[in-house]
Amino acid sequence: MAVLPPGVSQRTLDAALAEWRSAIGSEWVFTSDEDIYGYRDSYSILWGTDEERIPSAALAPASVEQVQQAVRIANKHKVPIYPVSTGRNLSYGGPSPNVRGTVVLDLKRMNRILKVDDTRNFCLVEPGVTYFDLYNYIQERGLKVMIDLPDPGWGSPVGNSLDHGVGYTWGPFRDHFVSHCAMEVVLPNGELLRTGMGGMSNADTWQDYKYGTGPSTDGLFGQGNFGVVTKMGFWMMPMPEAYLRGMVYAPKFADVIALVKTVNFLEDQGIIGMPNYGSPARTAALPFNKPADPDLLALMANGYPSVEQVDAYVAKKGVPAWSVQLQFYGPRKTVEANWEYAQAKMREAIPGATFDGVYRTDLPVPKERLDEVVLRHMGIPALEIFNIVSRNESHGENPPDGHNNCVAIVPRTGESLMTFSKAVIEGMRAVGDMRPWSPFTTPATWHPRTFLCGPSVFTQRNDPESNARNKRLYESLVDTYAKYGWVDYRCTHAFQDRVVSKYDFNNHALMRFHELLKDAVDPNGIISPGRYGIYPRSMRRTRA
Amino acid sequence: MIGKLGLVGLVLAGIATAAVAATPIQPRARLPGDPPAGASGAALVQHGDHAFQYYCAPCHGGFEKNLPGTHALAVKYKGERPALLEERTDLTPEFVTYIVRHGIEGMPQFRKVELSDANLAAIGAYLSKSK
């Protein structure tokens, strides 16, 4: 299956490949079918179709200088390249490019950990470094810092941050783009740039102060296509003394308003780590691997139910409508006092609130207690999530190969949680998906100031019809979200054009501004064309 | 081993933790609109009072200790004149206008966009009224 970059002839590609081979070594330029297979997105909803974002080749430079050369060669031949760090961004495109035929620039070989400092609490890493690498480096040296990492932990801090990725601990650290501090970037013209204090060669504050003096351009490189990031710094949390977690339950459906308000209050004062919302009522309504509760089907049968109807359902099930797990990191006495304070605040706000599931440990977690904790909450990398990745449905004959998350940015209020399911149901029914759904939406709180809500759709490599159906479902969800003022914070290539088209304030003024910048910084459009809807001039079609 | 500064700190700590009658924070004045067109006399003075509290009192007030305008004038006049502008009897609207529009020492000048001519006239009237 020969694939070419758009508008590039085989001859031009071959000429570029020849130059790349001499620049970075022929063993690091991949063109065979078998090698290219490794750069396909195993979660692609377009798998095996003509639209699948298959690269024409891949390059794996070993140094910044080689990246610069590779970029200059790409410019010379106008062959687009798509940088990946570790290519582990599954559900968001993995190692595959946005536009079919783009050459992948695989930075995995650049995997040095340049510094971890536990006096000033930061690290500086290259793109090929994984969270496992960083964790092991810290363990070997006995450094007293905690990593904030996503689950699974095989990805790259650089790659994750550049896709506005997230972690699981304390607010200022789990937004991985916010917690970054400065970067080194190869610009589309091959020039090397250091942002912030890196602009001053002898400054020892590159990972301490973000801004430097003058404007800050870092934001362009997250979810953007304005350069190739080759180093990045991150702020880290000093290892806290202790950890405590406890569960809070709220009995009624409408209690979620007070529950969220109280959690927001705790979060924004920096008292808690990531809150984990749950809904015992939903578990009763849609038990794992069992048919939906008939009472739920009755509840949802005549349009979206009223609050009273939902509360009647909750009462009948005899379980709390909502729960939230609160997590505290800090000095022993501080975490105890914070948990006590949180309970007092909850009691004040929610009549009938109950509490349990208290667990305490000193940090770092002693080896013999690792089974008792969720590793990602402790900054310990894991692959555990693959245990559950496809277990939330009964898959029968044809279990899914992957999933595409369709997660919208929703205001951090109880009211929005009470109505979110309505949108999902609308989105599903619009494409004839009649599966049961509950009114209990629990959000992810990865980004500390907002809720991220929404289902995933499954992908199936050997079932293009299922993929096509799920693609329609995904698109329907995106369209429905937009009616409510919600939109995905991140998504796989197949949906990026659609998602960014929703940002249409003042006739897509923001996108037009991005395009203005793109044309100035990358006139040949060689870096990641199409990433988050930003195309070079030559590929800019009528907007969705 | 605790220095002199430290001992002072300890004494103050005693006061703070003993929770002597705590005074609530003085409220700040609210943004005034312009005085009604054609306002004069007592009405203008009254409006000028409000405008003074908003625009000038944060430095020239007496509601807190050590406000910089009041403090600077205390140092400057060494008791010859009141440090508080509101207690002065020698101010004219013209003088007030000149200082406000030109600034003096650490005090910057103020622009018409932030402090309108009409409000400045009211402040002048307020500060120059007979006490």
Binding site: M1, D33, P381, L383, G396, P399 | -
Partner: protein
Amino acid sequence: MTTEPTSPGASRRGVLQAGAAAALASALPFTAAAAMAKTARFHKAVYDARFPEGVSFGAEMERGGTPTHAIKGDITPFYNSLYRQWKEAPTLIAGLTSANALFALELMANAAGMRVAFRAEQRLDRFGAPQWLLEGPPGLIDAAALSAADRDWGLFAARLAAACPARWSAPASSTAACAVASPAAVDERVTAWVLAPVVRI
């Protein structure tokens, strides 16, 4: 592309037919693997102790002299145990885990210079009956398909793994399916596998 059939439906039918054939041939003994087991040099083997197949797979590996590592679902501890080694060089390893655990490990192994050389994954056929879907080098898969399905699958998978070449040089070229006597946890798609270092030709 390479291993992935371009027309999934057609290929799936082919696989199912092979499965039917294998079921018929289930009475034949499988001795070749046992004979070759000693020649395999696994650096380590991993098994998921929640599955009965896993336990017998692990036992058979230990009998053959391979150090084993038991997990309960999460593959992370096993990966951690290989982290240093894989920084230096790829290794030959085998396992019986969930398909998801293999998925995670496989991507890490790919980056360290290994490929899946053999895979036997439990799935349901279209009638809802469990079966093993085999993938690997022709000699091995043909032998397996002709062998018994109706036996201790953990043991059988360990022997198949042991018979797998210790170096990977080409994508799996043969697939087959065998019926499974006693389904364990189909939800988790129990999978036996070999990850082998790549030899570039």
